[in-house]
Symmetry: C2
Subunit: 237 residues, 2 copies
């Protein structure tokens, strides 16, 4: 109910054309208007404050803040698989697996997955192709323990890796990501489908499942002339 009220209040602010600086109704009024208690109203308003949509001044009231009016479509802060992202952008792509193999982890992979640097991980390299050109190049690493009795070569990763992991009990929930602009490593740039002259927008992320375990480290190269990421930025916090 608090959540519902919060969303209602957001609508109210957006729809009533309340401009930054304007005062919003008091807790008492809102409680009366929506037939809920003041405590409930306060919890909803607190959420809006944390979102930076309203500012509060003790003794005076609440005022819509500067951030209203700023919004973006698919913020990078929303965790989603490459498959989901491409579908959301309307791209029809085909997946091609370049390689699936057991290999020694890079330092980065070892640290992210919490495995020994002398150990072994599964590394999966894939292309997302659109009209015979690679839009995204993915290099993913995960623990060999997830294979169970299967060998890497037996598996079919042309679908969503996130889905495959979910089937093994690891629902990806969130990640800590790095964003860089890099050229394509020469080994991958050598492929005919991969444009080696592009700037590539690279997301390297450590993904954790619902239980908080680091399950996947992946680096996704997004073609620079195709992809744009969006994000809202705020002072403080």
């Amino acid at each position: 109910m608090v959540i519902q009220l919060r969303d209602t209040l957001v609508e109210l602010i957006r729809d009533e054309q309340l401009k930054p600086g304007e005062q919003i109704p008091t807790e008492h009024d809102l409680a009366a208007r929506f037939s809920v208690s003041r405590a409930t109203v306060r919890e909803a308003l607190k959420l809006l404050e944390q979102d930076g949509l309203v500012d509060v001044v003790h003794g005076r009231g609440r005022f819509v803040s500067a951030n209203v009016g700023l919004s973006v479509n698919r913020p990078v802060t929303r965790f989603e698989s490459v498959t989901e992202m491409l579908a959301g952008l309307g791209y029809i792509t085909t997946n091609r697996t370049l390689s699936v193999e057991r290999a020694a982890p890079t330092d980065e992979e070892a640290e992210a997955l919490g495995v020994d640097a002398q150990g072994e991980i599964v590394r999966l390299r894939r292309l997302r192709l659109h009209e015979d050109s690679a839009l995204v190049v993915s290099v993913s690493a995960f623990s060999t323990a997830l294979l169970g009795t299967d060998e890497p070569a037996d598996l079919d990763f042309t679908g969503s890796l996130a889905q495959w992991l979910a089937g093994r009990g690891h629902d990806l929930q969130s990640s800590a990501a790095q964003i860089q602009a890099l050229p394509m490593p020469s080994e991958l740039a050598a492929l005919p489908e991969v444009d080696g002259k592009q700037a590539w927008l690279v997301i390297s992320e450590r993904c954790v499942d619902a239980a908080g375990r680091s399950v996947l480290f992946s680096r996704e190269y997004h073609r620079g002339d195709v992809f744009t990421f969006h994000v809202l930025r705020r002072r403080g916090t």
Copy 2:
């Protein structure tokens, strides 16, 4: 007090080594422990829920969620000027102004600033140099109204543009930003300090002041081999 309690609870979760899935003390216990009312505890906990740090199950309790353990240093979601960012990363840079001039806005600039496409804006192009090499190339646009009686050429922008705007009553608060990986436009790549072969990490953002006005549209090119942005990503919301 709610905010203070929220931060205390975050510490409590982090320091007590509570792992994802573990239950946190009940509202009643927390209220007793910190000598506050249950209402106050609830407001603080609601904030943690919105942050995705705890999950709540009606009738059972609250449990620390998967996102605990994920954190990054200087998230892109934190709005800061290039000057602040470079200082935070420990770079000592010198500013060089390439040009300040009245000019016709690009479509993008006109839309972001809410000015007529046939109108005029001030465009400022600057370099942040480190050891005679450009780390960041900025192209900023703002309304000519901000000049007052001054002419562009009279102004000194070697300091922080954000500070200059603040002095004119426009404290930059937040922005909606795009992130791309692009080559440097040829005109700027021609400069000896600018590496034209680099991939550049580009942030184009519309910045709004405390009153919610779109004050500044800027595009910052960050050298790809130097800069890495960080961000937390979460499912939902």
